[in-house]
Amino acid sequence: MKSDKEEKNIDAEEVEMTFEEAMEKLELLVEQLECGRMSLDESLDTFEQGMKLATRCRKRLDDAERRIEQLINEGGKIKSEPFNSKEETE
């Protein structure tokens, strides 16, 4: 898949982050920057890291990929399969 390939190009640490973790980290970085107690070097590092996260989060918004699945119990075995509602197939 296209998105999988792209993900591989991003830092390993960031790939593991969920959108929620990324947003929380981003909010934390912004607060740290705003409190102004960091050295200039730290500020610039934080800024760079924050911008990377923000770009990643924004990209996630435009990323139209979304999986819609359903869990079904087939003879005691639970499996998931793509879900197509009637409305969508029409």
């Binding site: 929620e20 947003m23 924050g50 918004l61 869990l71």
Partner: protein, 400 residues
């Protein structure tokens, strides 16, 4: 026996029903359901107990006389006659009078369970788990063909892309409560961040599975936060009270759980803006500091300092010179003045003007005639020499 047309058959049944005295002018007790208050003033509804139901019609001529407003799930005593609505072949109670009868059975059951679970603490705020701000995978428990999933998918499409995991469940009928409870348990074994359970609007009995204890327990035992979205805005169920968050409708649940893409975009942009601004400020602050420090170590400033010191030194030196020369010239003029004054009082000057000084031979100045006698030798000093004299006579001038 000939062949009836449907109309004839229905008419026949109608006649039979209407001629049966046991079905005329009867009282029946039950709970109102599927109520329609038609604009014409006619009321159409069913009354039911836990096992059966019967259609009722209350024409405006009667409904005008009734002193209360019938409501959904209201328990009533109805008085009327059994009739047949031939158009649909449906038998019904034609209401002649009705009155409220305490609280409906289902409603009573609802109230009892609510009270019991409340006492047990299932609705307590401290059991409410927070709903994640940015879920990435959402579990949904509802019918795969109902209005709820349709609404949810519709809303989800316009919001932050998230994965949806549906567990199809019965949301109506006898087995629905255990079906919903099972689905919740199933989703607890997946990686979903939050679960939405619910269904579209319906009558109280349609929504009943969400009022059952087994569903409330499943919600309470769930490790994943649960949003309950049952029926319409005005429908409150036990599931709503037990859930971590109540949404008025399934679409609203979706909106509450999945952040809006446009709002998030704006929010992220504002975060970017804040980062740029504070970093900018940081750089500006450092630039100001640097400027200040630079100004303090500037070499020109040192040279300037040295030159200023030179100037100060020169100034001091010339001031010293000035003071000393002043001092010298002062002393000189003093000297001149004193010399003049000394000159003025000098005996030599007096001598020069013709005066003389009389002295004895030892050069003591003779001030009085008493100091000399006749024949003494004296010396008279005048400006250009000394005259040695002998005293011939002494004349006292003060005796004259």
């Amino acid at each position: 026996m000939g062949i009836f047309t449907v109309s004839e058959l229905n008419q026949h049944v109608k006649n039979v029903l209407r001629s049966e005295p046991g079905l005329q002018q009867v009282w029946v007790r039950g709970e109102i359901s599927n109520l329609t208050l038609h604009r014409s003033g006619h009321y159409y509804f069913t009354i039911k107990d836990s096992k059966a139901q019967i259609s009722c019609v209350c024409f405006s001529s009667v409904s005008r006389m009734i002193k209360f407003q019938p409501e959904k799930s209201m328990s009533i005593l109805a008085f009327g006659s059994i009739d047949l609505y031939t158009v649909r072949g449906q038998y019904q109670l034609q209401i002649l009078d009705m009155r409220p009868d305490g609280i409906g059975e289902l409603y009573q059951a609802f109230e009892q369970l609510k009270k019991r679970l409340e006492k047990e603490g299932l609705f307590e705020i401290e059991h409410k788990k927070p709903i994640p701000k940015y879920p990435s995978r959402i579990g949904i428990v509802t019918s795969p063909t109902g209005a709820a999933i349709h609404d949810i998918l519709n809303v989800a499409q316009r919001r932050l892309p998230v994965d949806l995991l549906l567990v199809p469940a019965l949301v109506q009928g006898e087995r629905s409560a255990s079906s919903v409870a099972n689905a919740i348990e199933m989703l607890n074994n997946t990686d979903v961040d939050v679960i939405i359970i619910g269904r579209g609007g319906g009558s109280l009995e349609d929504l009943w599975s969400f009022n059952e204890e087994i569903v409330a327990r499943a919600i309470h035992n769930s490790n994943v936060p649960i949003v309950s979205a049952v029926g319409h805005e005005t429908d409150y169920t036990i599931a709503d009270f037990t859930a971590d968050l109540r949404a008025p409708t399934p679409s609203a649940a979706c909106e509450m759980v999945i952040p809006s893409s446009t709002e998030l975009e704006k929010y992220i942009d504002s975060l970017i803006h804040r980062m740029i601004q504070s970093t900018d400020q940081k750089i500006k602050d450092h630039r100001t500091d640097l400027k200040y420090l630079h100004s303090r170590v500037q070499p020109e400033k040192f040279r300037d300092q040295v030159l200023q010191n030179y100037q100060k030194l020169d100034e001091t030196a010339s001031r010293m010179e000035y003071i000393i020369s002043n001092l010298l010239s002062n002393k000189e003029s003093f000297l001149r003045e004193y010399a003049g004054r000394l000159d003025a009082v000098s005996p030599l000057r007096t001598l020069a003007r013709g005066y003389s000084i009389t002295m004895d031979t030892e050069s003591n100045i003779i001030h009085s005639v008493n100091e000399v006698t006749e024949a003494d030798d004296i010396e008279v000093m005048i400006h250009d020499g000394i005259i040695e004299c002998s005293v011939r006579n002494v004349i006292r001038t003060d005796k004259r």
